[in-house]
């Protein structure tokens, strides 16, 4: 097994490196906009506007509950029939952004629930307007209290980039690379081991960074 892995890395080392970088890139490209969108959704859901609230609740429930692959397949294969053509890589990123934003909005909602109402009353009595309170009192504290679930979400998102292997993207991320190597050669097992090690290492790195960040910013109540 060790021999197989070293031979594989000698032959395909750069390919694995590129695949890992692509996995990281897809993760980052979908996480950052996903969190921003999710925060916006969570904030807008607070306003007493029933039609908007209803729509955003629908949005969150749909993208929280739809399997990511089903969403990706819809975006890639069904949207062109509706005359929306999106390239493969943006389709993967869009899928993950939508899913990430729904979960972010949901987690932020529970983060918002941890804020004592006395803070809101205090801010109101200082004469702050509700929108200002949401922006400068509610959201910062909510964000600080959801570092742990967001870390899990980021890891789940990183693992979900494997669904890019389901569309014919020009670049190959880790899972697509393994499936290609397993199809073409007998190096499947070694390729699987290397890719799995890369995924696990990335996940542990994110978990470690998340724990450090949480320790730093968590509000003890």
């Amino acid at each position: 097994m060790g021999d197989n892995i070293s031979r594989l890395l000698a032959d395909h080392g750069p390919a694995f490196w590129q695949a890992l970088l692509l996995t990281w890139k897809l993760t980052a490209l979908s996480f950052v906009p996903g969190v921003v969108l999710g925060a916006a959704v969570a904030a807008l859901r607070l306003f007493p506007l029933p039609p908007l609230r209803g729509f955003l609740t629908f949005y969150v429930e749909v993208f929280r509950n739809i399997p990511s692959v089903a969403l990706l397949i819809f975006i890639v294969f069904a949207l062109p029939d509706l005359e929306f053509v999106i390239d493969y890589e943006p389709s993967v990123v869009l899928t993950l952004i939508l899913v990430c934003s729904a979960f972010t909005a949901d987690y932020l909602r529970s983060g918002i629930n941890t804020i004592p109402s006395g803070q809101i009353e205090a801010a109101l009595s200082l004469g702050m307007r509700p929108a200002r309170i949401i922006y400068s009192v509610v959201l910062p504290q909510a964000l600080r209290s959801v570092v742990q679930p967001m870390t899990s979400l980021l890891i789940a998102l990183m693992l979900s980039t494997s669904l890019a292997s389901q569309v014919p993207m020009p670049g190959r991320e880790l899972t697509a690379l393994v499936s290609k190597l397993a199809n073409d050669s007998a190096a499947g097992m070694a390729a699987f081991a290397v890719a799995a090690a890369m995924y696990v290492a990335t996940g542990l790195l994110i978990a470690w960074a998340g724990a450090a960040l949480d320790k730093k910013v968590r509000i003890l109540r």
């Binding site: 607070l46 306003f47 007493p48 506007l49 029933p50 039609p51 908007l52 729509f55 429930e61 749909v62 929280r64 509950n65 739809i66 399997p67 990511s68 692959v69 089903a70 969403l71 397949i73 819809f74 294969f77 069904a78 029939d81 509706l82 005359e83 918002i112 629930n113 804020i115 109402s117 809101i120 009353e121 109101l124 509700p130 309170i133 949401i134 509610v138 890891i155 693992l159 979900s160 494997s162 669904l163 292997s165 389901q166 880790l174 899972t175 393994v178 499936s179 397993a182 199809n183 007998a186 499947g188 097992m189 699987f192 890719a195 799995a196 995924y199 696990v200 990335t202 996940g203 542990l204």
Partner: protein
């Protein structure tokens, strides 16, 4: 029960604020209707509302075929969840065991299975294992990877639950002369289960989502059957829309059940 944050924020609106809220509500509703109309128009102009693309949904055979797919999804999900619940318990026991020879391999197995995409594990069973002479049926090629990766997550959920049980419970049980096994199974674990049932049910949503990969190994689940329908009737958008709606409803039901189980009991 304290007031929700929204009520505190917008609880006592002035007449002016009330008017503004109403006006903005109406505008928002108008924009959302406009969006819906835009989508409907796009469907129409792309010819996706034509009867021939939808008519087979009036036939019972279509629904029977989709129901068969959903049954395949649920069979795989149920078996995956059952294995995960049992195996997760074993992994958790290993993870909490004192001897390092039990603990370290359990940690390694949990981190490996949790940190690897389920899809990669499916490819392992689908592409790699056959070349090593291990041939699984399509059902197991899908269910086994799902069961393994879920088991690792479930093991961590169990562990969180067990650690959340106050230590005094264990100490009291020990001082009554119960053996370690009795302490765990009659005192600690039943209480831990109460904490974690919502999280376990929520995990079921992820299991159902993962079965969507069934089409990769051509196991007859909902997504795979949807692809067959599309090939037969050349009706892509309607079939994918219906299937997505079915997935959403099933998972929404499970999420609601999880929330209901996790409601505070007074």
């Amino acid at each position: 029960m304290s007031r929700s944050l929204e009520d505190t924020l917008f609880g006592a609106p002035s007449p002016r604020a009330r008017t503004i809220t109403q006006v903005v509500s109406v505008i928002a509703a108008g924009l959302l209707l406009l969006l819906a109309a835009g989508i409907a128009y796009r469907f129409h102009s792309a010819g996706q509302l034509e009867g021939r693309l939808w008519q087979f949904f009036a036939w019972p055979t279509t629904w029977a075929f989709l129901a068969k797919g959903l049954l395949g999804t649920l069979q795989s999900a149920a078996m995956g969840a059952a294995i995960a619940l049992a195996l997760g318990l074993v992994m958790m026991a290993g993870r909490l065991a004192r001897p390092r020879i039990l603990r370290w391999p359990s940690i390694a197995a949990i981190e490996f299975l949790r940190g690897t995409p389920t899809l990669l594990l499916i490819y392992l069973c689908f592409l790699v294992l056959p070349s090593a002479g291990i041939k699984l049926s399509t059902y197991w090629m899908l269910t086994l990877p799902i069961a393994l990766s879920t088991a690792a997550v479930v093991a961590e959920v169990y562990r969180a639950g067990v650690l959340a049980v106050p230590r005094g419970q264990t100490e009291a049980a020990r001082s009554l002369g119960l053996t370690e096994t009795q302490v765990f199974f009659t005192i600690v674990f039943p209480q831990a289960l109460r904490y974690i049932v919502p999280a376990l049910v929520a995990q079921l949503v992820i299991v159902v989502k993962d079965t969507t990969f069934g089409y990769v190994v051509t196991y007859g689940e909902l997504m795979q059957n949807a692809k067959v329908l599309i090939a037969n009737y050349h009706s892509l958008v309607p079939v994918y829309l219906v299937v997505a709606a079915v997935y959403c409803l099933v998972n929404y039901g499970i999420s609601r059940a999880s929330r209901w189980l996790g409601r505070p009991v007074h």
